[in-house]
Amino acid sequence: MKTFSSWFGPLTLTLGLLPAALGLVQAYRIAPTEAAGRAENPRARVLAKIPDDPTVLINVKYRDLPASPDILEWGKRSTAALERCLADNVEAGIRIQCAVMLNALGDRRALGTLQTALEDWDENVRVEVVRALGRMPDPSSVAPLLALYRRSDETFSVRYAILQTLSSLSDQRVVRFLRTEMATEPDDDEPDIRPVAFRSLWAHRHLMGRATLVGDVRKALRSDNDALVYEATLASTELRSNRLVDALVPLMGHKREGVRNKAVYALGRIGDRKATKALLARLPKVRESRMLNNIAFALERLDKSAFYEAIDDLATHKQAVIRLNAAFVLGDVRDPQGLPLLKTALADASEYVKTSAVVAVGKLDAADAAQREEALRALAPFVTGDSLTLREHAIYATHQLSEGGRLDLIHDKLFQIDPKKYGRGVARGIRYRAAMALAEAGDDRVRAYVVDCVLGGSCATPTTRAYVTARADPSLRGQVLLGWARGKYWLTGMTSTLAPPGAQPLAKAMLEDAWPAPRSRNTREALLVLGSIGDAQVLPLVQRRTNVRFLRTKLQGHVARIRLGDPAASDDIVSTLEQMPADWLLAAVGTVAAADQPEARAALVPKLEALQKNADANLALAAAAIHLRWDPDRAVFRMLEGLRAASGQERRLAERYLRRTRGQRVTALLRRALAREGDDDVAARLRVILDRRRG
């Protein structure tokens, strides 16, 4: 017993400490590995070395390759490492990734490496390399690309990529090559590449004489390849040459609906009266509404009297769907001459035809009070009628005809609709549409409704946000701030504009809270609000936040700095833009354009004007697009210069930015430019931009 008791104490102690001891051993064995994992994660290690060590990606395995967005955050500082990766890494999958990233960067320093990589043994690498060369068009790429295309052992996918890339090169050698390809009939066992060759040739249209171009399009319209014919109908709309009419007319009966519609649309745009007879002959054979509308619109442009004769037949057709479309066309034409036909449609047995006619009457442009009265009288029975659908449309049509003078009807008969009578779901939709119309007209009676739906996110449009902002009292400001703090980011703009008390400390706290996640949405939103409120006290914090490698956060931070009154940020904004991947510049334009305070603009505009002359079209046009948002009268000329640039890539970029920049003033400037443009190609591009802005 004595022996047992003498052992009991040490034994219990040993057993009690055993788990701890085992834990320590385990910790000793595992901890170094984990520590190494955290500190020396192979991907993180590789990523960190990219800007300083061009060889870092040469021996990297696929599992250790950092994610593309992480590498791209280094911007053009990663170009050298990606070049070496493309040249020297033996894993084809990795070379593909590196070529894709070089494409995203658009850094012309990689041109030589990419041209050499056209000899890569892997087909998929070559495809990506070819695409990347399209991002940095250069005359020195023409010969190697054409040589690769002509190799008898080259694959279809590489050839296809080459044809696509050639569209960016803007070179006479390419024009000659593509025209030869277009003229060559494909072998039976080979895929027909003519549609893509045509698209590339079309991208070179500014280098071709008009007669040659029209001839090539005519030939394509008569081709046996449907895809090629479709491309050619699109080109015909832009070319608007009378010489294309006879090739387009037979296409109204093409087996493909897309071709039929585009052919009719092109005929309408060309505006040659020769097409009238063919359009009229086609009309009775039409079987789809889009085609019917396209023919009617084309006729309206070509020959008004022929149009009214034809539409008369359609408006009294035996089939309701045709009568419905006739009413739709009459509305879009807007001519009060169509009112008698629409009055007939208002008495139609079909409710669909009646609805289409009611909407159309609302669109008519009454030239005088008598015409307006007549149209309003025609609508009156529907405003009080039994059909809810017709009543709703009739009220809006009446409002429209009265030049916005019937808000009372919208409020009393639609916004205050009784859900018990018509059902909750139906009433909800009617009420919502009425509230939006009343808000657009600035009617205060829907304030509570619109505030609720903006705060809830179900109707946060620029119009409703402006409506609510204009009616914000202290309580509403508090609600907006609360919503924003809860992550309702559609309220960021309103929080910035209203600057409710407490917004700045909250945004500051949000930025600090998100410090470990500099790429997070919270970081970007907080920087946006801090910059908008404009209190320079937070400048040191914002400056600290820009000390990261992440280019988008950096840019947002520099923009906040300049809005907070730090003019030195203008140089940093420019250098960040210069570092950015070309792919990101489109979004960066909006970020920088937010810095619209006069002082910020004064500091930035001279720098942007210098950047607009940069040899890199991606960068130059991004700078011009920012400038365009602030001073369209001046900056539009850089865009117009882009439209007439020798480089097809620059022309496309200018088109893209002009399409995306909204505003009535830009539209007016583009119309002025079109009216005075002497270059056919530039005029055609301007016309397309204006059409798309309208559509």
Partner: protein
Amino acid sequence: MKALLRSVARGVGIVAALGLVACQTGGSGAAVGPKTSSRDVYVPADVARSEVVLRVSLPPAADCEERFDLELYRERGVDLIDWDARSGCSGRGVDITYFPERLPEPRLLERVRELATDVAPAPRPDVAPEAKKP
């Protein structure tokens, strides 16, 4: 004699140059050099501008406003045509900025009358502030 030789040499040079251009363009039917004859140009902000505010009705068409603009902008003396926020073709408010040095007001009004079906002077158009913004 030297002058004759120089002249012949110059002629040969011109022919060679023309030949080169022909070779460049012949294969592709391509046009060489800019085709531009005219274009819009920037007029500095300090050049005197005047404006007229009108109420006009245009021939009805889906794109009546654009058709009017494209015709009127052919006048180099017109700087900018700014429409009210309404849509449609009748009774539209329009604010036309122009360069009186290049286009006297009577000439401008005459041109507007040619393009519109009805023209009347109007108070400044009732344009929503956001619609006027660039």
